[in-house]
Symmetry: C4
Subunit: 124 residues, 4 copies
């Protein structure tokens, strides 16, 4: 399939709640970014995180295989540094190939979960 998407994305919202009522993996509070690579070449992706009152950290590097999707939790990023909890951040996502990026948060601080999602901003 012809590739679809852009190479440069940003998500202004970012926040990982420090608490979860459940430790079941699917229901732990998380902030995720879904990366779709519909093209025929692997996409090498670099993520940079921005904060309120300190310098950016990154790049965090991941690969999304050709014709694959990766639903990446910011919770799981550790290199070069774990993502702080209960802290506002934003992200810029740069890819070697066109990809499509969508942002989702599951918040399970309370007995019932809350969800939100939006397509990222991409540079036209």
């Amino acid at each position: 399939m012809a590739p679809i998407g852009h190479r440069r994305w940003a998500i202004a919202e970012g926040y990982i709640p420090g608490q979860s009522l459940s430790q079941e993996h699917a229901l732990v509070s998380h902030e995720a970014v879904c990366l779709l690579n519909a093209g025929d070449r692997d996409a090498h992706v670099a993520i940079t995180l921005y904060f309120k009152d300190r310098d950016p950290t990154g790049p965090y590097r991941v690969t999304v295989g050709a014709r694959r999707t990766l639903h990446l939790r910011f919770n799981d990023l550790t290199d070069p540094a774990p993502v702080p909890r209960d802290t506002d951040f934003s992200s810029v996502i740069e890819s070697s190939e066109p990809i499509v990026v969508q942002h989702t948060r599951l918040d399970s601080r309370h007995p019932n979960i809350a969800l939100m999602s939006t397509v990222g901003y991409c540079e036209a």
Copy 2:
């Protein structure tokens, strides 16, 4: 009315929770895509699903009549294969006519529902 929309869309987020507390149709956990065809010709739509660690499946074929909308649940897709539950996926949606695509999830794993929605990414 003049057609509105694009012919090529992508939704990077996709996940059907395997559990629902209610079996009432409106409240079963589902992942849906709303397809609006405001034009005067039927839109023939092909959906391809992308996964983390196996090849894409599809196309799933649906028709959206002229001047009609179709709110399609991924839960209901069965040909060429049912959509696996509790599994991350993405979708690419290709249409013979301009359409508008919006993504929605209702999550009813817990006693109270959670909703999320976003317009799909379209190729400019």
Copy 3:
């Protein structure tokens, strides 16, 4: 202020739950569209609704004053016909002036509310 926005928008998702646990106005289940007219001329807006298996209805006509916003509930539309509950629909929104359109649903079928929101699709 210089106007901002577009004249032609679409929202593919639409559904008004027939039930609400609360009859308090702010908490009745509703489907809403927020219309911002930041320009210096009144915006005359026509909304057309699309359904799964019958012809479109409309136009529903509203005016958004210059430098004003209107948060319109589909629940409140009655002319030329009320919007059916528990029924999938989509909408196309056409304005005489540039406006910005955002879609929101509050679902209060259950003891706790669920929210979703997304910017509409606009014709570039």
Copy 4:
């Protein structure tokens, strides 16, 4: 990093619930706008609020430092006037530098929170 974003944004949806069950800062009902400035110069931002039946108020002025993000709660804006609760509004956000804007609401009127989020509309 090269700047990413636009200088002119709008968010048609806006509403701060007057009630919260929790007074814990993270869980107070709020309407927020996340502003990412990935560029190398401070961004001077002016926010104007629009209402249903009175003139706009503003500009509210904030600065987002170079390579910083600011998650701003409309609840916290006081100059030139606090933002009324339980009142529909919209916002236009103008920046001296390219930024990326995302809108989020946390609604904690009820025992369990509801979330929604969407990227703002930007002038192409």
